[in-house]
C-alpha cells in the first residue's frame, strides 16, 4: 500500500512539477491577485511545435517595489536552489536593475527538461515555467521566430 501511495505521489508531483519551486505561489495567484495578471496554462498536443508538454506563464504590472522585490527574491531562491544552465541579460541578484532577464534551465525531471524564465521591464514582470523535450532556450528562440 505504501508503494502505491509513493508511486501515486510521484506521478502527481510530476504533473505539478512547478509546485516544487519557490516561485510556484505566483502561478497560484497567491502573490499577485488574479484580477491583475494574465495567466496562461497550456498542456498537451498544442505545444508539440515548441517541443514542450507544459507551459505556464504569468504577466503583470507591479503596483509597487515590494511586489517586484518579492518575485525577484523567489526567482533568486530558485536560481540558488537549482544550479543549472542560466542565461542572463543584465540580471542582478541585488535587484538594482529596472530591466533584467533570467532564463534558468532547471534539473531534469524524468525525461522532461524544465525551464524557468523571468523578465522585468520596469513595472512589467513576466514569469514562465516550461517542461518538455526542448533542449535549450536557444532552440526555443529559434522556434518562436
Amino acid at each position: 500500500m505504501l508503494i502505491i501511495i509513493i508511486t501515486w505521489l510521484l506521478t502527481i508531483a510530476t504533473t505539478q512539477a512547478q509546485s516544487g519551486l519557490s516561485v510556484s505561489p505566483l502561478f497560484e495567484g497567491k502573490i499577485i491577485p488574479t484580477q491583475r495578471m494574465v495567466e496562461t496554462r497550456v498542456k498537451g498536443k498544442m505545444l508539440t511545435k515548441y517541443q514542450l508538454t507544459l507551459f505556464r506563464s504569468v504577466r503583470f504590472k507591479a503596483n509597487n517595489k515590494q511586489e517586484i522585490n518579492r518575485v525577484h527574491d523567489m526567482i533568486e531562491q530558485d536560481k540558488k536552489k537549482n544550479p543549472g544552465i542560466t542565461y542572463t541579460e543584465n540580471y542582478s541578484s541585488e535587484k538594482s536593475r529596472s530591466k533584467e532577464t533570467l532564463m534558468l534551465q532547471l534539473p531534469k525531471q524524468g525525461n522532461q527538461n524544465r525551464f524557468l524564465c523571468y523578465k522585468r521591464n520596469n513595472e512589467d514582470v513576466t514569469v514562465i515555467y516550461m517542461e518538455g523535450t526542448l533542449n535549450s532556450l536557444d532552440t526555443l528562440r529559434e522556434l518562436i521566430k
Binding site: M37, R41, V42, R59, T126, I128
Partner: protein, 225 residues
C-alpha cells in the same frame, strides 16, 4: 447411537428443534430451515451421540439460530483471529473473509465456523466431529493461519491491481488530457486562439532581443554611478 435409533427419534426430535428455533427466530420458515440443518449435523455425528440427545440437539440448534441472527445483523465474531487489527471490519472485508473460509478444506472450514460463527466450545466441536480437543485446536490454528495468509494474499493482489490501475489511469490522463486556458485579468478564456496568442506573447516577452534595452540600462547605470 445407531442409525435405527436416530431414525426412530428423528421426527419427534425435529419438532422439538423447530420449537427451539422458534424461540430465537420467530420466523417459521427460517426456524424450519435451522431445525433441518441441526438434524443434518446430528445425523453426521450420530455415531458419537449417546441417548438422550435432546440436550446436545438443542445446543446445536441454538448455535445455528445465533449464527442466523448474526448474519441478519451483519456482525461476526472475529476477535479470536490473530492479527485482527490488520483488517477493518467493514462489510466488504467480512464478506471476503467468509469467502476465504468457504474455500478452506472441509474440516478446517467446519471447525472455524463452529468456533467463530457459532460460538461453540472446543469440547463441543470435538464431540461433534468425534475428535479430540487437541486435534481440534491444531486444525483450528491451521485454519486461522490459512485464512490470514489468504486474506493477506488477496489484499496484496488487490493493492497491486489498484496501484497499476491508478498509475495507468494517471498516465493515460497525462497523455490525453490537453489543457488550454488563460486568465486575462481574472477573465477566463479557453479558446485555443486567444490562449495561444497569450502564450506567444509571454514567450515573446522573454526571448525578444534586449540589446537596445540593455544598452540603455547600462548607460543609465553608468550615469547614476
Amino acid at each position: 447411537m445407531t442409525t435405527e435409533e436416530f431414525q426412530q427419534q428423528a421426527e419427534e426430535l425435529r419438532i422439538k428443534l423447530v420449537s427451539v428455533a422458534h424461540k430465537y427466530l420467530g420466523n417459521t420458515n427460517e426456524a424450519e430451515d435451522i431445525a433441518q440443518d441441526a438434524m443434518i449435523k446430528l445425523w453426521l455425528m450420530r455415531e458419537q451421540l449417546t441417548l438422550p440427545i435432546i440436550g446436545m440437539a438443542s445446543i446445536v440448534t441454538r448455535n445455528l439460530c445465533i449464527d442466523a441472527l448474526r448474519k441478519h445483523h451483519k456482525t461476526i465474531d472475529i476477535s479470536q483471529l490473530p492479527d485482527e487489527e490488520d483488517f477493518s471490519d467493514d462489510g466488504e472485508q467480512i464478506e471476503q473473509m467468509l469467502k476465504v473460509i468457504d474455500s478452506l478444506p472441509s474440516t478446517q472450514r467446519a471447525i472455524l465456523r463452529m468456533r467463530h460463527l457459532q460460538g461453540m466450545e472446543m469440547r463441543e466441536i470435538a464431540l461433534v466431529l468425534g475428535s479430540t480437543e487437541v486435534a481440534v485446536r491444531k486444525t483450528l490454528s491451521r485454519a486461522r493461519k490459512m485464512v490470514k495468509n489468504r486474506l493477506i494474499a488477496i489484499m496484496a493482489v488487490a493493492c497491486v491491481i489498484i496501484g497499476i490501475s491508478m498509475t495507468t489511469v494517471h498516465f493515460v490522463k497525462l497523455n490525453t488530457n490537453d489543457e488550454c486556458v488563460a486568465y486575462v485579468y481574472g477573465k477566463k478564456y479557453t479558446d485555443q486562439q486567444t490562449v495561444m496568442a497569450e502564450m506567444r506573447r509571454s514567450m515573446g516577452e522573454i526571448v525578444e532581443d534586449n540589446t537596445q534595452d540593455e544598452i540603455e540600462q547600462q548607460l543609465n547605470d553608468l550615469f547614476r554611478n
